[in-house]
């Protein structure tokens, strides 16, 4: 690779890792940041009006490969990630075959190296076949780089298995992430349980089903001294449980998905399965609570739970359609439009939740800043003012199940750099 020097001039650096928010010049030399300050050299790119931040990090995506390439591949999913400003994503283990042994993890890592548009930090399964019964070989997966284990989509029902997973993962101080759903309360559940589910005749997914599981896992993590990550927090009760656990010293981190801070259960009245997701869209009060959780740091990360499904699966009866929504290409703009613009989060807080915090919470080196001399140039530059309209067919994802089609959002990614190389330039994907 030829060594190149690029300077972004007059850019607003917002770096949650260092706390800097200032107009400056950022020079990239090869794979690294060469300087931040008055100096410029090499190819000068006028970045006046743009924000430069550490590349975004998504703790929770489904890239569907291997096994479900009709929905997404590592190439298309990471392309969507790069266009969304991400430089690292963590794909879940519910592929076919399941990522429950080192072989599948290595396959994902190899595909990501060959075809990917961002770094990929795979999540390994906690149990064999996601069956919730026998522990997968966490050690073998750790040896090839896995830092977090999850049976995402399927909860670990047995408290004993969950306890063992937390304890065993401590060997490497790895993170255990349990899909928080007490499934005996959610059999055939289709949407949030409440007056609306009653009227629509859709089986309810009660908020207690999430909170019971989170409460159990927090207790187990505390006793084990282990690292617990709570995925896709969707209820006010869960936010409060995590807030209390953090105050008590439990080693817990948490994420919220953009759809849980932007949409409510009212969408189900359309019976359009593009709004079906697990955990389901909740109430206005829950949306308020997760926003407060982000603002006070109870929830440190925004993670998309990007879940592609082909049209023929989503264009079905609500009850038959699989849950899940795209998220990678809209997460930043939704955060800017729905959280920063109304003043729920500062821009620094928002980028912390999209980059620095997730990178730290998952031990992803080289991402999340700080943006300083010598650091890997994993960066995003975006125009916080540009308005654009979401086009379901216009994205890089192989699927188009976005619930935001037709919606106008503010803030658009202009450039994404992975170790100094443009993965997105002027809003266009650059070949892998």
């Amino acid at each position: 690779m030829t060594r190149s020097i690029t300077s972004f001039t007059d850019v607003r650096l917002v770096d949650p890792a260092s706390g800097r928010d200032e107009l400056t010049n950022v020079v990239i030399d090869g794979e690294r940041v060469a300087s931040v300050g008055s100096r410029t050299e090499g190819v000068r790119i006028n970045a006046d009006g743009l924000v430069l931040a550490p590349g975004l990090v998504d703790l929770h995506v489904h890239l569907r490969e291997p096994g479900f390439e009709d929905a997404e591949t590592i190439a298309t999913g990471t392309a969507a990630a790069a266009l969304g400003g991400f430089t690292a994503v963590c794909p879940m283990a519910n592929t076919d075959p399941v990522a429950d042994h080192a072989g599948v993890i290595e396959q994902v890592l190899r595909l990501a190296r060959e075809e990917g548009h961002c770094d990929v930090a795979p999540v390994g399964a906690i149990t064999r076949g996601l069956a919730g019964e026998e522990l997968a070989e966490l050690g073998a997966m750790t040896a090839v780089g896995v830092r977090c284990f999850s049976d995402d989509g399927k909860p670990i029902r047995s408290a004993r298995v969950m306890r063992r997973a937390l304890e065993y993962a401590r060997t490497w101080d790895a993170i255990v992430c349990n899909h928080a759903e007490e499934s005996s309360l959610t059999a055939s559940a289709q949407m949030n349980e409440g007056a609306l589910s009653g009227l629509l005749g859709l089986d309810g997914w009660p908020h207690e089903a999430e909170e019971i599981m989170v409460a159990r896992d927090l207790l187990l993590a505390r006793s084990a001294g282990a690292r617990l990550h709570v995925p896709h927090v969707s209820t006010a009760g869960t936010v409060e449980l995590i807030r209390q656990a953090k105050a008590a010293g439990t080693r817990v981190t948490a994420e919220v998905a953009p759809h849980h801070f932007t949409l409510t259960e009212e969408r189900a009245t359309t019976y359009d399965p593009v709004y079906k997701v697990n955990p389901p869209l909740r109430t206005k009060e829950d949306v308020e609570a997760v926003r407060e959780g982000l603002a006070d740091g109870t929830i440190e990360a925004i993670a998309t739970d990007h879940a592609p499904h082909p049209p023929e699966q989503k264009e079905q009866e609500w009850a038959y359609a699989p849950p899940g929504m795209l998220g990678l290409e809209t997460a930043l703009a939704l955060t800017l439009t729905e959280l920063v613009e109304p003043g729920v989060l500062t821009l620094t807080q928002a980028l912390g939740a999209l980059s620095t915090n997730p990178a730290r919470s998952r031990d992803i080196d080289g991402h999340g800043g700080p943006v300083e001399e010598g650091a890997p140039a994993n960066l995003v530059l975006f125009d916080p003012q540009t308005r654009w309209t979401v086009d379901a067919r216009g994205g890089a994802s192989h699927s188009r199940n976005t619930p935001y089609a037709g919606r106008e959002l503010r803030g658009r990614v202009v450039h994404t750099l992975l170790r100094g190389r443009f993965t997105v330039r002027d809003g266009e994907l650059v070949g892998a």
Binding site: G198, G201, Y271, Q316, E317, W318, A319
Partner: protein
Amino acid sequence: MIPHLLAIDDLDADQITRVLDTAEQLKEIALRPIKKVPILRGRTVCNLFYEDSTRTRISFELAAKRLSADVLNFSAKGSSVSKGESLKDTALTLEAMGVDAIVIRHSASGAPAQLTKWVRGKVLNAGDGRHQHPTQALLDLFTIRERLGRLEGLRVAVVGDIVHSRVARSLVQGLQIMGAQVTLVAPPTLLPPAAGAWGAEVSHELDSVLAKTDVLYLLRVQRERMSQQFFPSTREYARLWGVDQQRLARLGEQAIVMHPGPMNRGVEISADAADGPRSTITDQVTNGIAVRMSCLYLMLGGEADEEASADAATAGGTP
């Protein structure tokens, strides 16, 4: 007048009255030696049934045929649906064949609403999941009005498995639109979540509501609910919420007993209650045809001169 009929609250009180009044006129056709009028001649109605329901399908079939519509019966078994064809593709196929109206019964809530996105023809919901069954509500309203002369101000107790019942959802809304007062009677396990939001009274005790009830509406209790811990046994259910001779005796003099069928005799309703003079159960079946004729007519009939055709329909006969 009616674009689609997906839920009872697609209609306001005036429209419901119009449906019932029209049904009253059309009901007379069944008394004629030749039970057929040419109102919907040349129109095609498809009964698209994803769920077995011989009773409802036959009722719709008779209704359409008495209006001289051509009727197709498309049931999920033995069709392209059983070969895995999607609802969307089935809808597009029927659309391409020029069907004017689709009567759909589906086990998934919301399927009729989704259908409207893919077809230009009218969609009539014949029962979707646990959501709505608007023509059942209309035939129940018709039957109550026929027996008691009015709907406004009546006190109606809806008893039983409300949470799983599309009949209950439609009926309660329909009654409320028409100004009746509804009490839901069930153990908390069989009430919908946040039942208070339904705008009805809620009671767990049947005995306490009997004396102040004009219409006692009993819902079918499925035995499979026992295994799901909604209630411990049919015996206990019958003892606490079933209607027998003793409970019948505590109703007001004019009060009627209704059931959408099929009944579980001995569980929610005793033979005495089902077969006694208060029972409207067979009337409901008869009225179902007239009400469905009315809906099809108001959805598909000539929009410009509805009055004129309604008169034509009943010419040589009644009012």
